[in-house]
């Protein structure tokens, strides 16, 4: 652009603008990186177990004795107190009352928690988008029915509803037609968490669709003879993308926390599978003698959620077309 020439606009897509803004938001980038770090080390759980800790998540070493700095220490003392963090490759963060390596269990549990969180988020987003689109676009009785259903689900406090379904399914699992889930399947908490959050996402999406459908470009598409489905897919959905992306980040954090709470109470992940929630549940009774059993999963949980929350907020700021004038954060 040459100064003095009549102003000519360069074509920059909103996404590129958003990316540019995001690149300058160092706080968001740092915390996003933090989250990725947590994910990566959890994904590397099998490698850690095999090459560093030399033990699996369920292997018990109650009677083992360790050699630390020349001293012989019981993994689990005679009074039942497990060893604390050794900061060595074996039992890096210590052991639990069954002599299992906490660090290994932490990483494997993390895989479960993160997997459930991610899949539940996917479930929530898919359902919420479909329902929000349908009720916002078609309005009329479709909207009436869907909104009522969302209102009902929304009326239940999320944790309580998740507990209710979890408890109900814990004895016996569920079979609907071809879908059979045993009571120990991790897909049960996944679907429960996914469904419970649908109203929180569907309603804002519905509100946005209601506004978008009145815009001129939708009217133009209709005048061109596009079918309803095509309009929803090619005109409205792309405009929802930034909202959906931001919700994805926030829902991920919510889902991870809900899973932890559910499993902590016993209505989520069932043994022998483990997650951060179950680790917290088994760690808290021993809190006064072995606080690290609680603090370790808590720290990773908070780190992951903090990371995704702040990054998600940075994402929202970057995608918000009404950007703030002034020095960006």
């Amino acid at each position: 652009m040459v100064a003095g020439e009549p102003y000519t606009a360069t074509s920059v897509t909103p996404y590129r603008l958003a990316l540019r803004r995001l690149r300058h938001n160092y706080t968001a980038l740092f915390f996003g990186f933090l989250f990725v770090l947590v994910v990566v080390i959890c994904l590397l759980a099998p490698e850690y177990a095999r090459y560093i800790a030399h033990t699996g998540p369920n292997d018990q070493h109650i009677t083992d004795v360790l050699n630390i700095n020349g001293k012989q220490v019981d993994v689990v003392s005679l009074t039942g107190v497990p060893i604390g963090p050794t900061w060595h490759s074996r039992f890096f963060l210590g052991a639990d009352s069954f002599g299992r390596d906490l660090a290994v269990r932490l990483l494997y549990g993390g895989r479960t928690s993160l997997a459930i969180g991610a899949m539940a988020t996917a479930v929530t987003l898919c359902l919420a988008t479909v329902l929000g689109l349908a009720s916002g676009y078609y309005r009329g009785w479709v909207d009436g029915v869907i909104s009522r259903i969302l209102d009902i689900v929304w009326a239940y406090p999320a944790l309580l509803l998740a507990i209710a379904i979890g408890v109900s399914l814990a004895t016996g699992g569920i079979s609907i037609g071809p879908i059979v889930l045993n009571s120990g399947s991790i897909f049960i908490p996944t679907f429960i968490i996914g469904i419970v959050y649908v109203p929180y996402v569907a309603r804002p999406i519905r509100a946005e669709v209601l506004a978008l459908r009145e815009r001129e470009f939708v009217e133009a598409a209709r005048a061109l003879g596009f079918s309803n489905l095509k309009i929803m897919a090619t005109e409205i959905l792309p405009n929802l993308s930034s909202t959906i992306v931001v919700f994805a980040a926030l829902q991920l954090a919510h889902s991870i926390i809900l899973e932890a709470a559910l499993s902590y109470l016993g209505a989520g992940v069932q043994p022998p599978a483990s997650s951060w929630g179950t680790l917290l549940a088994s760690g808290t009774p021993l809190f006064t003698v072995a606080p690290y059993l609680t603090l370790a999963p808590a720290t990773l949980l908070v780190a992951a959620c903090l990371g995704i929350n702040i990054f998600g907020d940075g994402l929202r700021q970057a995608l918000d077309p009404r950007g703030r004038v002034g020095v960006a954060r």
Partner: protein
């Protein structure tokens, strides 16, 4: 105004009814399981199961089952077989504890949330704002029970400032507060973070509104502009949130906090029942939890209509 109230109440009643049906379905109709066994609990004896079948009528058509269940609940007869207790009388006993916990925390998080949100919003973009925002996010990201344990570790275990568990009734106000301070903060931190963020965003938005510019052009003092125009508008959002969050906490975080701090409230009762897979208490608590949400959301909507006259005039929101 009266018409608005009538409409709102009618829709609430409909929702309450549907909630009761849905709860019933969740617990008694989900396929693959013997509902009688489920209701009788993991430790059921054959006598228990027989009693359940008689009371709930599982061989009868579904709507009879529903009516029987509702009958059990509302006539106060519903019983937990595993613990041999009348559910409703147990709930009545536990309610004051939970109410103290939740309402106290609500007052705390509302005041703190408004304070932080306002300060952050008025200093938007500055260091104070960034600092408060990061604090908010830590609050949002740390599950309340984690905060609970951390507080216990430092304020009870290491430095004996507060008692780590138990509940003392209102007859001893100092003891009552003493036992509730840590639980209140554990619950409140999450919502303080949320409210502060919401209020901050609302304040920043409102500051850019034309009528705020007009207010400043009228020469109103900064204090008056902030309180009467900015806060007044931003608060309406918080009001509707507050009612809902109280209900959400009742059915959510309160459960866990009561477990952590060993407070004999409804949440603790629910947690024990969950652990024992004892269904009747969970059923009742779930249903009443949803009822609470509907009631509170109606109240919040009414207050919102009082505060914002445009809502009363318009037909749908």
């Amino acid at each position: 105004m009266a018409r608005f109230l009538a409409r709102r109440l009618a829709s609430s009643v409909l929702v309450l009814f549907t909630v009761s049906v849905l709860t019933f379905l969740i617990f008694e109709v989900i396929p693959n399981g013997n509902p009688a066994l489920r209701l009788a609990g993991r430790t059921a004896t054959s006598a228990n199961i027989a009693a359940v079948e008689k009371a709930y009528g599982f061989n009868k058509p579904i709507y009879i089952q529903y009516l029987r269940t509702m009958g059990q609940i509302f006539t106060g007869k519903i019983v937990s077989y595993a613990q041999n207790l009348n559910v409703l009388s147990q709930l009545k006993q536990d309610l004051p504890v939970t109410a103290s916990l939740v309402l106290g925390a609500a007052v705390l998080w509302t005041l703190l949330g408004i304070l932080f949100g306002l300060v952050a919003g008025l200093n938007a973009g500055g260091k104070i704002d960034t600092g408060i925002t990061v604090l908010n996010f830590v609050g949002i990201s740390a599950p309340s029970f984690v905060i609970g344990y951390v507080l216990i570790y430092f304020l009870s275990f290491k430095f004996h400032v507060f008692p780590s568990s138990g509940y003392v009734g209102l007859s001893d106000p100092l003891g009552w507060a003493d036992h509730l301070v840590m639980p209140w903060f554990s619950l409140a931190i999450l919502y303080t973070g949320i409210y502060a963020q919401v209020l901050r965003a609302s304040v920043v938005d409102t500051l850019g509104e034309d009528f705020v510019r007009t207010a400043r052009a009228k020469g109103l003092s900064r204090r008056r502009v902030v309180i009467h125009h900015v806060l007044r508008t931003s608060l309406t959002q918080i009001v509707s949130l507050c009612g809902l969050d109280i209900a959400a906490v009742l059915g959510g975080s309160a459960i866990i906090i009561e477990v952590v701090f060993n407070l004999p409230g409804i949440g603790n009762y629910a947690a024990q029942s969950i652990g024992a897979l004892d269904v009747p208490p969970v059923l009742v608590i779930t249903m009443f939890g949803a009822f609470a949400v509907v009631v509170f959301s109606t109240i919040a909507d009414v207050i919102y209509a009082v505060l914002d006259p445009r809502v009363r005039a318009g037909s749908s929101l």
